[in-house]
Symmetry: C2
Subunit: 337 residues, 2 copies
């Protein structure tokens, strides 16, 4: 049992109730023989959901939690006061070494606060970025920070570049990840004060393969493996990506239903089109890890279904197996905080 990868899944906080977490957990166990899962939440509800499945009882355990943290609660206060919430109890397992990873569809603010206060930052890490894989016309690019830290210093952006490189190397198997900074132009003198200063630092950093600036119009073409941005800009990128691709596909669907001819046409292209639509569906990308903590915390979308839970479990497995947290910790232990 000691070689098992132990993952806590928070069953509270997602838009779809605990059932999808339980279903995802059961399926995730089938895919990964060396995983044990802790389901954190209301014991009776979880047991109810579990009763629908056949599963290895040695590999699922319940962490009973009576309190819930709502989406609109002030996150820091909630994390400090609700000691019996699924979030705080689950994260404590990570802190105490009883688990290797934690997955939640709950409030981003609470997950970030819990990561900081319960699990804690690795030594030398200045800020913990939320990292997200973006679909592109090529391989996915890792974007960080997607919203955890705004108003940061250039050396923080540099650390994001280093953490992102470790992640892409170890979890996604990219040999020498190309790192770019999101910018308003390609020339070195372009950018705001933060980006210009970080650019100079990244150019000198031997730990990363810095390829310069990337303009937002080039992001969808997969020109970089790691894209760094402050949390404000990163959040705008990830959310515009989501909103715009959904809207365009919806508009096209509307156009296809315009008349009989186009309806017939739409039927014929359906299967070819599905692949493209799937490419822009972030739900199979395994959620967004919060990098730089002492343990692995993964935020999945609030409206996640079981597929996202399954992908998140798979992502946690490669993350833990390749000791990404350990490598990040090692990379930063000599830095000043």
């Amino acid at each position: 049992m000691d070689n098992m990868i132990k993952i806590v899944i928070d069953t509270i906080g997602g838009d779809n109730g605990p059932a999808f977490c339980v279903k995802g957990a059961v399926k995730g166990l089938e895919n990964n023989r060396d995983v044990k899962i802790f389901l954190a939440g209301h014991k009776d509800e979880i047991e109810d959901c579990l009763s629908e499945y056949e599963y290895d009882k040695n590999r699922i355990e319940i962490i009973d939690a009576s309190e819930e943290i709502g989406l609109n609660e002030p996150p820091v206060k909630a994390v400090r006061e609700k000691k019996d919430s699924s979030l705080v109890k689950g994260l404590s397992y990570l802190k105490d070494g009883k688990a290797d990873a934690f997955i939640s569809a709950g409030s981003t603010g609470a997950i970030l606060a819990g990561g900081q206060f319960v699990v804690g930052r690795a030594k030398g890490v200045k800020r913990t970025p939320l990292a997200h894989l973006l679909p592109t016309s090529g391989e996915p690019s890792l974007l960080l920070d997607c919203g955890a830290n705004v108003d940061i210093k250039p050396e923080v952006l540099l650390q994001f570049a280093e953490m992102g490189s470790i992640y892409m190397k170890e979890v996604c198997g990219v040999a020498n990840p190309r790192v770019a900074v999101a910018n308003v132009g390609l020339e070195e003198e372009k950018g705001n004060a933060l980006v210009k200063s970080a650019y100079t630092m990244m150019k000198k950093d031997k730990n990363i393969n810095f390829v310069g600036s990337i303009e937002a119009r080039a992001i969808p073409y997969g020109k970089a493996d790691v894209i760094v941005a402050d949390g404000f800009v990163g959040n705008v990128i990830i959310k515009l990506y989501e909103g715009l691709s959904k809207m365009i596909l919806r508009e096209l669907k509307g156009a296809f239903l315009a008349n009989f001819k186009s309806k017939v046409g739409a039927m014929l292209i359906k299967s070819s089109m599905k692949k493209t639509i799937k490419k822009f569906d972030a739900s199979d990308k395994g959620g967004a890890p919060l990098l730089g903590l002492k343990g692995l915390v993964v935020k999945i979308h609030g409206n996640s279904k079981e597929n996202e839970v399954i992908s998140a479990i798979d992502q946690c497995v490669s993350f833990v197996r390749n000791d990404v947290s350990g490598k990040i910790i090692k990379g930063f232990e000599n830095e000043e905080e």
Copy 2:
């Protein structure tokens, strides 16, 4: 001739040479009986292009210019030194009251610098934002600043909100334009220091209809008429919009060519789909005006064709006819600089 709206078109600097400017100018004159156009650039080249068309010779005049400002020249230096460039000569017409508007497909940096140094900011205006109409599933939204000013103060963002409102009211006929600030969340405490502080100011400002924050995922749905952002964030939004919509449509096209069945299907949906694609084509939106100057300067895309020139002329006509510059100047004349 005195009631004529006089527009200078810079024929140098676009990717497609002077021909498309000349063609656009001739067509633009046909649409607008009360417009006179000055074509700035190499006289012989312009005359060559003009010789292909029939047009009212009283309404086209050439401003002969021997110098060119290239895309990669340091903009401020180029504007200061190249007094005989089409850009500087054309902008001088604006400054001297010999023209009402100026359109160019040249270097954004040079246009911004020229606007500042040759035409000059209106009294009380702190910074001049580049404004751009974004296609949405509803009516277009005006985004400003799209890249002219990074690292700005909150009161500058407030001025952008006011200028954007005047523009949408006067040029696009929106009665009470909803103004939103691009942000990472909807609650008032969300955002970076700039946005939080500007939020408080905008809430109190009686000159605008402030509706709060807008998350990037909601931008494509047209939830606001005016969206304000600093030039870094605005540039990321406009360029990601452009890149992502192009990439998705390209990927879909690729999917349609995947097999015989989908090729037939694609033929049947072609005409319905064209409308949607056209919606995301920024070229008929008339370019991006630089607001807050003493005259109207409009930047069109470097790879513009005649359609964008025609739309830009139309935009200039409503801008001038509704005295938008005058209204902006009046709105800010009592402000400290």
